[in-house]
């Protein structure tokens, strides 16, 4: 045996062994392997795409405008508070336009107000608008920054929620400027996951305004969906600084949902950012789950003061503008704990605790895309893919043997190498196998013989010219080489583009296609050559079965 031959044989052997070792964890056989194997050798294997194992692919968009809106709102009330504290006189502070605040004031306090704003809100641009009016506008750069931060925070919050929800191998990342992609493989209850992620989870404690006569005029209950109507009815009657909020009431016996309106103070006593802990407990009397929350020391102090000042009044616990419960304050509550009850199921209570712990989203998010694949479809797809692959491979293999005889067997050997190395490479990169990916493998099988066909046809031509077997093989490989490279590179270009722009399943297809093409180049130049060299090295062949 020639030295070069031995070296090439070893290389191919090594590649195949590596491929098998890497691919093994993706097969059921892996479970039967001894323990040391999993510890010392690759144990990750190929990941199945969402389309094969079932799961969800969600794209959310963070409503950055909303974040800017509430930042301006906060700034306006912050200025109001500052001016009041410093006893600077002003007539009114209100929003003007989307990012503007307008302050009307007696002319003598103009410079004082400007100073306060300049010192405390450097991101606001100040414009005089007549004698007694100031316009403050949020700089564009600042509102961009708010949007950016909102997306970052939303990403973090969603990640926290998913972590606590408990999904194996979720993928959560940002795309474009304000989109967040969430992939949850193998999820059983899609709707619950969407609800969990989508909740803004803005927790607020607000006092009810029961002294106003309007509170008594509110109906005890309205049918679900009638909120808009009620709001427009009461539009002009709602006292300054108050708002109407609704509690969702479910009739235990009929299961009918109705809404109960309350008149609440607009200003929140406390918001969710003072929360340190949220836990699910079970009320032993009614056997109903509830969520108990704890505040940090600052929050506890405020809560104690407010409850002390408002004994016998009602305080509403509000999540995302919905009242969950509105208990009467029985006494001053020290210690910084509160309970949220609301006729939860256990899962609802659990999810509520998760969103409270993970914190509120800085801005609402909208779902742009939701692709959910059930687990049974995934299995069907795998089965169909494997079946198609087997049948396709057998057809190609048979065809090659019939057409090229013994050389066809050699080409089939290359197909076999291709598939094994491709599977190993996919496992090595821990690539995601998708349904189009399986299609890619099957197509690769069809195309993998192409290089060999090119070579074989060349060899046949050389033989027709009367060359010896040895010389014909050499010439065949040599002449086909550049063509093979060219044809592979062009396919690689399209595969690379597919990879770059594709998402999910399509990316999976691009990965298998480009890996397949590269491996193909290796096996056709190395794999079959080595066999031919082996056959011709021992003795000079008179005839080649081709």
């Amino acid at each position: 045996m020639k030295k070069g031959l031995r070296w090439r044989f070893s290389l191919i052997g090594a590649v195949v062994i590596f491929a098998i070792i890497f691919f093994l964890p993706s097969t059921p056989v892996f479970k039967a392997m001894p323990e040391w194997w999993g510890k010392n050798l690759p144990n990750r294997g190929i990941t199945l795409g969402l389309d094969l194992q079932g799961g969800m692919h969600l794209v959310f968009e963070v409503d950055g405008e909303k974040a800017v809106d509430s930042a301006v709102e906060r700034t306006a009330s912050g200025i109001r508070q500052l001016l009041t504290e410093k006893k600077i006189r002003f007539t009114a502070i209100k929003r003007s336009g989307f990012t503007g605040i307008e302050i009307t004031h007696p002319s003598e306090s103009s410079t004082q107000i400007k100073k306060v704003v300049e010192n405390n809100y450097p991101s606001l641009r100040i414009k005089d608008a007549g004698k007694s009016r100031l316009n403050l506008i949020l700089a564009d750069k600042e509102s961009e920054k708010i949007k950016e931060t909102a997306t970052e925070q939303a990403l973090e919050t969603i990640r926290n929620r998913i972590d606590q929800f408990g999904v194996a191998e979720p993928v959560i990342h940002r795309q474009e400027t304000n989109q967040i992609v969430v992939q949850l493989p193998g999820i059983k209850d899609p709707q619950r996951a969407i609800d969990l992620i989508g909740k803004t989870a803005l927790l607020e404690f607000k006092l009810l305004d029961e002294e106003s006569p309007v509170a008594a005029q509110l109906p005890a209950s309205i049918p679900s969906g009638g909120e808009e109507k009620l709001l427009s009815e009461f539009k002009d009657r709602i006292p300054e600084g108050d708002e109407i909020l609704f509690e969702r009431v479910v009739d235990k016996e009929t299961g009918r949902v109705s809404k109960r309106p309350y008149l609440a103070k607009k200003r929140a006593v406390l918001t969710g950012d003072v929360l340190t802990e949220a836990r699910v407990n079970i009320d032993t009397r009614y056997n109903e789950p509830y969520v108990s929350v704890s505040f940090d020391s600052e929050g506890a102090k405020i809560f104690e003061r407010v409850t002390g000042e408002n004994v016998k009044k009602r305080m509403a616990i509000i999540l995302d503008n919905n009242i969950y419960s509105a208990p009467v304050i029985q006494e001053r509550i020290a210690g910084g704990h509160a309970q949220i009850t609301g006729r939860f199921t256990e899962n609802e209570a659990k999810d509520l605790a998760i969103v409270l712990r993970a914190g509120a989203l800085p801005a609402p998010i909208n779902m742009l895309q939701n692709v959910t694949v059930g687990p049974s479809l995934g299995q069907d797809s795998i089965d169909a893919g494997v079946k198609a692959g087997m049948i396709g491979a057998i057809a190609v293999i048979l065809f090659m043997v019939i057409y090229y005889r013994l050389s066809g067997v050699i080409a089939d050997f290359a197909v076999f190498l291709n598939v094994i190395i491709l599977l190993g490479a996919l496992a090595w990169f821990n690539a995601t196998l998708t349904l189009p990916g399986i299609a890619g493998i099957i197509l690769t099988i069809g195309m993998s013989v192409d290089a060999n066909v090119l070579i074989f046809e060349r060899i046949r031509e050389e033989l027709r010219l009367g060359k010896t077997v040895r010389a014909a093989i050499d010439a065949g490989y040599k002449k086909a080489f550049l063509t093979i490279v060219d044809s592979h590179v062009t396919t690689l270009i399209t595969a690379a583009v597919l990879f770059q722009f594709g998402t999910g399943p399509i990316k999976g297809f691009a990965v298998t296609l480009s890996l397949g093409v590269m491996i193909n180049l290796f096996t056709s130049m190395m794999g079959t050559r080595v066999v031919f060299d082996l056959i011709t090295s021992k003795r000079a062949l008179k005839r080649l079965s081709i």
Binding site: I445, S487, T490
Partner: protein, 300 residues
């Protein structure tokens, strides 16, 4: 030796006018399809148009009329129903909904569990795509096609001559347009998977063209005294058996996908099948004749 064709001597170049005429019609249809896509007046998949699709799998056959009726009663508009009776599967599609993403599929599942209370079903898959995503996917697909084209043109122009690159690109576009045209005429859905298939076809067709071109270039150097049409014609003939065999094996693999790959991949495999056929045709009848027709320097 077992050969399909023994040393063929077919006059491919001589038949170029017939081929150009046929291909002219193909391309015209393809361009019509493109225009219709731009106008949105085509069976665009919800990947691009936005909307909802829900796959349901029932445990026993269900009457389609009833399914249609309960959907109508619920006030959902523009519902597209497709059933796969062999597996008791039903595909419900609603395009361009104005309803908030996430609500439509929920609705559909509810309508069916109420309307078919006696028949159990599982939700195989739901897909909801908001209009914004559809727009950006459309843009991405266009960019992908443009980049792929440019990359291929540059590579071939570098490896051969500019003229070869243009000819190969025209042939590739021809194939992609043809498949698009077929999908348009058959009113099949234009979706992301089809774009994937089209790019795959482009890669395949190009491979085919490059193989022929390689032989043409090689022969031009060897037989520099012969007229170019003759050299090109015999080059095509020399690689013909390779062309047919490779097309054949790839076709076999795609056929397996078409028949056994499952319904999700069915149209994809179909596109690949016709793509292989047209890609083979175009490398022989379109790409090479362009080299002959286009006067100018070919030899280096």
């Amino acid at each position: 030796m077992f050969e399909i064709i023994k040393t063929p001597k077919i006059d491919f170049i001589g038949k170029r006018n017939i081929a150009f005429m046929a291909s002219g019609i193909f391309i015209a249809i393809g361009i019509v399809a493109l225009i219709q896509i731009a106008r949105g007046a085509i069976n665009l998949g919800i990947d691009f148009s936005g909307g909802t699709s829900v796959h349901l799998k029932f445990e026993k056959p269900i009457p389609m009329d009833h399914a249609r009726k309960i959907l109508e009663q619920s006030g959902l508009k523009d519902v597209d129903l497709q059933d796969f009776p062999a597996e008791n599967k039903l595909l419900i599609r609603i395009k361009k909904s104005d309803i908030e993403t996430g609500k439509v599929s929920e609705n559909i599942v509810r309508i069916f569990s109420e309307g078919f209370s006696g028949t159990k079903f599982v939700v195989d898959s739901t897909t909801e795509i908001g209009p914004k995503i559809g727009k950006s996917l459309q843009k991405d697909a266009l960019i992908a096609v443009a980049i792929a084209t440019a990359g291929i043109l540059i590579y071939i122009a570098w490896r051969f001559r500019f003229k070869f690159g243009v000819a190969a690109t025209i042939a590739t576009f021809h194939d992609v347009l043809f498949v698009l045209g077929v999908f348009y005429i058959m009113n099949k859905e234009i979706n992301l998977l089809l774009i994937t298939a089209l790019l795959t076809i482009a890669g395949y067709s190009l491979t085919d063209t490059v193989v022929v071109f390689d032989r043409i270039r090689e022969n031009m150097k060897l037989r520099y005294k012969e007229p170019i049409p003759l050299v090109i014609n015999s080059s095509i003939n020399e690689v013909l058996s390779r062309t047919i065999i490779t097309a054949g094996t790839t076709f076999l693999a795609a056929t397996a996908l078409f028949f056994f790959g499952g319904e999700v991949i069915h149209d994809f495999a179909f596109a690949i099948l016709i793509g292989i056929a047209i890609g083979t045709y175009s490398s022989i009848f379109i790409a090479s004749p362009i080299l002959v027709v286009w006067k100018g320097r070919l030899r280096k």
